[in-house]
């Protein structure tokens, strides 16, 4: 029943509409009286003209072509595709939260500010740090803010112009170096050692008076906890640098180990990963950043403060890095994350991480016989296999990823981290039942077998999806980035 759907511009006909505005109830003036003619639009934008039925049907049909957590297992490593509890949606959609204008007087938004105030406290407690900004709209945005804070810190110390380098593991997510660059930093890549941790010797060599700081995920992007974290931290701190924690992998450490206790000075969380806010097909997210006491002075404005007369937004931070967005953050996501933390409490959050790690280790051991496992240690919330073995039969990780779609399961993250050949990065999350894990294992084993016995079947995958494997090269070489009326082409 799932068939491709026409592009909306191929539907509809003149005068049709999906929504009727109320009639004008004020005396009208001619448009030209209000707006100089040069400013008046000559041709209306050629938007679609469809009825409500057509609009709804269009999107409902499109939705049916899409996979999602509510549809099936989503073992996308590094993305923490956990279940998004529906009660959080209920909370966020209450008019008392969803219908607040950002410029309402403070006395009318005390509940919102209270929520933000407490969420900041919760995140600081989880991070083991002092204060936080809730403004960043996503993880990468948080990274940018964190690095700006780092720079402000060095600037204040008069070392801003000499500390120009940020150290980043070779296994890091692409946003880490990209954020560093956006913040004006040079990136120095630090290799990974044979146990999958950071190469301490290499770090020792790299670190110095030009070091602004080190960005790290721990557990790292291999899903492994870097046991040398204390030594790493010491090295960097001793050299006058700061430690930045990319919290994308925080789902492994809730209530188990706090980044602040590991020695990190700056931490971002991805509320859309660890704290279950839905991913929406690519966003919105939220990437709050928590910092040590020393760095709190640099936080972006405004911060939420509690005063005698209630909660308020404080813009008066003389050393602030400034502003990185309008208003106060992706508030709707904050409501959901707050609800999530209140639902779980300390015990629940710890259980989250315990089960996330349990599930990952279970999958790792189940799949180990069939795929190469570059780092054979207990993993944390995720682990990375290599498709090397299958590559010998000409079957690449991409092929297996596509084949998995035929089994009705979303593929793991592939080709990341870059340091693992033909990487397959698997993160099951704590919310999956064992049935889903086992189904995935079965599919993966079947594919490993197919890779050996019927490699062509795997290489031609997917076979059962609404479209076959798409020509990405063509998409990039002859970009068609918008629909155009056939008359115009």
């Amino acid at each position: 029943m799932a068939e491709t759907v026409p592009v909306i511009f191929e539907e509809g006909s003149p005068q049709r509409r999906g929504y009727r505005f109320p009639k004008c109830d004020v005396p009208e003036i001619p448009l030209e009286e209000a707006i100089p003619t040069e400013h008046i639009r000559k041709e209306p934008a050629p938007l679609p003209e469809v009825s409500e039925l057509q609009a709804v049907r269009h999107f409902v049909r499109l939705s049916r072509l899409n996979y999602a957590v509510d549809v099936g297992f989503y073992p996308l490593g590094s993305c923490t595709m956990k279940y998004n509890p529906k009660v959080n949606e209920e909370a966020a959609s209450m008019p008392g939260f969803s219908r607040l204008h950002p410029y309402q007087p403070f006395e009318t938004v005390q509940g919102a500010l209270e929520l933000m105030y407490h969420l900041e406290r919760f995140l600081c407690e989880i991070a083991g740090l002092h204060r936080a900004t809730l403004q960043p709209a996503a993880g990468a945005h948080g990274e940018l803010v964190g690095l700006m804070l780092m720079r402000a810190y060095h600037d204040q110390k008069g070392e801003g112009s000499t500390r120009r380098k940020v150290l980043i593991p070779d296994a890091a997510h692409g946003t880490n170096p990209a954020s560093a660059a956006m913040c004006g930093y040079q990136v120095v890549e630090i290799p990974t050692d044979r146990r999958g941790g950071m190469d301490l010797e290499a770090l020792r060599k790299a670190v110095g008076p030009d070091t602004a700081g080190l960005m790290l995920t721990n557990p790292n992007t291999l899903g492994l906890f870097d046991e040398q974290i204390h030594q790493l931290a010491e090295l960097v701190h001793d050299a006058g640098g700061l430690l930045y924690y990319d919290g994308a992998n925080a789902n492994a450490i809730l209530g188990i180990s706090r980044p602040g206790d590991m020695g990190f000075d700056i931490v971002h969380f991805n509320l859309h990963k660890t704290f279950s806010t839905p991913h929406g097909g690519g966003g919105p997210g939220a990437g709050p950043v928590a910092v040590s006491k020393e760095l709190a002075q640099f936080l972006p404005v405004p911060v939420v403060d509690k005063t005698e007369s209630g909660y308020t937004l404080n813009y008066n931070l003389p050393n602030t890095i400034g502003r990185v967005r309008s208003f106060y953050g992706n508030f709707g996501m904050l409501v959901r994350a707050y609800a999530y933390i209140r639902t779980h409490g300390p015990d629940g959050l710890r259980r989250v991480s315990e089960h996330a790690v349990l599930h990952a280790n279970y999958l790792m051991r189940k799949l180990q016989p069939y795929f190469d496992l570059p780092f054979d240690r207990h993993c944390k919330h995720e682990f990375v296999l290599s498709g090397r073995r299958q590559k010998r039969n000409g079957v690449r990780t991409l092929d297996m990823a596509k084949r998995l779609l035929d089994y009705g399961i979303h593929s793991p993250t592939v080709y990341f981290p870059l340091i693992v050949d033909e990487a397959i990065m698997i993160e099951p999350t704590e919310t999956e039942p064992i049935e889903a894990l086992d189904e995935f294992v079965e599919a993966m084993i079947a594919i490993a077998q197919e890779a050996q016995e019927e490699p062509e079947r795997v290489k031609g995958a997917p076979h059962h999806t609404v479209v076959g494997r798409l020509d990405e090269t063509r998409a990039a070489r002859q970009p068609v980035l918008r629909w155009r009326s056939p008359d115009c082409v």
Partner: protein, 435 residues
């Protein structure tokens, strides 16, 4: 599961975490709650707010109380959109991919430009990203921004660009609009881009046609930040030669939600396509020639290009972009014009009714769209109290966003306001506190 793993307890799996960095005590957080208890708690917290359902909203300044068709909720709350990740596996993500493709097209149609991305965080960072594009495209590192831009947007642009060693200079305002003379004085062949908001923060129209000429005489790019609803009646940026149009997309079907999540949009001329930050969806085919959609031009992005990417953005505001897409599809060609037209009529009625009222006077007598700045002659807190007790709010106060004069205030009326609401509002704000 433990036996498969070969451990006897979950805690063994954490044995590699050094004692020193292990949490000594449970997190100091409130105990967990059952769902019903949580809901009670959230209701109580929400009740400490007065929402735009409880009060009548005459506030603007970058977030607007426009009507949202109910059908939009049905569309956006589809689990397959709501709980999907970024569409990395195109073959099982055609739903999300096609809606983004449609979003890109709609934005091109609205702005009269050639290519849009899949969204950025919000309006202010979109403007900053536009400025960065101008710099990388021209190879220059000086940017001019009109002082009539939203003060928070200006602040964000400064913050972003200063870290990249780009100089940001403000073009002063004159009578509530950018001073063309000042622009002419300041611009030079070292300027990468000129950033203008239209209608500007004060609600006024800018001389975008003239600005465009001046900017292009110097080989700079014209980056304009627009209110997408205004494009129902106002000339599209493409028509006056803008190179990049950015803006805040909240008005297109997104709830106010205390400032976020919203969406930034960014649309540019064809020639700038490889400078665009963030995700872009393109059309292609499968082996059988069937049309399909996929993320494309990824060589711009961080996961491929890392520190040389056009931006660090990864997660964007996809669901908000879907709201905008559904909104534009639902209201359609005629509806968008109406939303703009009605907003304009309501705002102008409000402005006419306020004329000659003792309480307020306009900051400048310029053409405007759906909001305008007034001076109230009253302490902002006092005014808020009066408005609240009558069931209204407006804003932002200039004081809140760091502008002068202290008693400046933005008032806005969208198509959601009724005549009755406007009349009652005028009767409250239009008198002196002591009158």
């Amino acid at each position: 599961m433990l036996s498969v793993i070969g451990v006897s307890s979950i805690s063994e799996l954490f044995a590699d975490i050094p004692e020193a960095v292990r949490a000594k005590a449970p997190l100091d957080l409130p105990e967990g709650m059952a769902e019903a208890t949580l809901l009670q708690h959230m209701i109580a917290l929400g009740a400490k707010n007065q929402s735009a359902d409880d009060l009548v909203c005459f506030a603007g300044g970058g977030a607007y109380d426009h009507l949202i068709p109910t059908a939009l909720k049905t569309i956006v709350s589809r689990s397959e959109f709501y709980t999907a990740y970024t569409p990395y596996q195109a073959e099982i993500s055609q739903g999300v991919l096609q809606t983004i493709f449609e979003f890109q097209t709609l934005l091109c149609q609205l702005t009269g430009l050639d290519v849009a991305n899949a969204s950025v965080y919000e309006g202010a960072s979109a403007l900053a990203e536009g400025a960065i594009m101008a710099c990388s495209h021209t190879g220059r590192s000086r940017v001019l921004i009109s002082a009539t831009c939203h003060p928070e947007y200006r602040h964000v642009v400064r913050t972003y660009l200063s870290h990249q060693g780009i100089a940001v200079e403000e073009i002063p305002a004159q009578d509530g609009a950018l001073s063309l003379e000042a622009l002419q004085d300041m611009i030079g062949d070292d300027v990468a881009g000129v950033l203008v908001q239209h209608p500007n923060f004060y609600g006024h129209l800018e001389s975008v046609h003239r600005v465009s000429e001046v900017v292009h005489q110097h080989g700079a790019l014209f980056v304009v930040s627009v209110d997408p609803i205004s494009l129902g009646v106002l000339e599209p940026p493409g028509a006056y030669g803008a190179d990049i149009a950015v803006g805040e997309g909240q008005s297109l079907g997104n709830t106010l939600s205390y400032g976020g999540p919203y969406l930034g949009f960014l649309v540019a001329k064809e020639s700038l396509v490889r400078r665009i930050p963030g995700r872009i969806v393109g059309q292609t085919v499968d082996a059988q020639g069937r049309r399909g959609f996929t993320l494309t031009l990824q060589a711009r992005e961080q996961h491929i290009r890392r520190q040389r990417a056009t931006s660090n953005i990864c997660t964007n505001q996809a669901l908000n972009a879907l709201c905008a897409t559904a909104y534009l599809v639902l209201v359609g060609k005629e509806g968008l014009r109406e939303a703009a037209y009605l907003s304009l009529q309501k705002a102008h009625y409000l402005e006419r009714e306020l004329r000659g009222r003792a309480g307020v006077r306009r900051l400048a007598d310029r053409p405007f769209f759906k909001e305008f700045a007034v001076q109230t002659g009253e302490d902002p807190h006092e005014l808020d109290k009066r408005l609240l007790s009558a069931g209204f709010f407006a804003g932002p106060h200039f004081a809140h966003v760091g502008l002068q004069p202290e008693d400046g205030l933005i008032v806005c009326a969208t198509e959601a306001r009724t005549k009755d609401e406007i009349d009652r509002f005028v009767d409250v704000i239009g008198v002196h506190a002591d009158g």
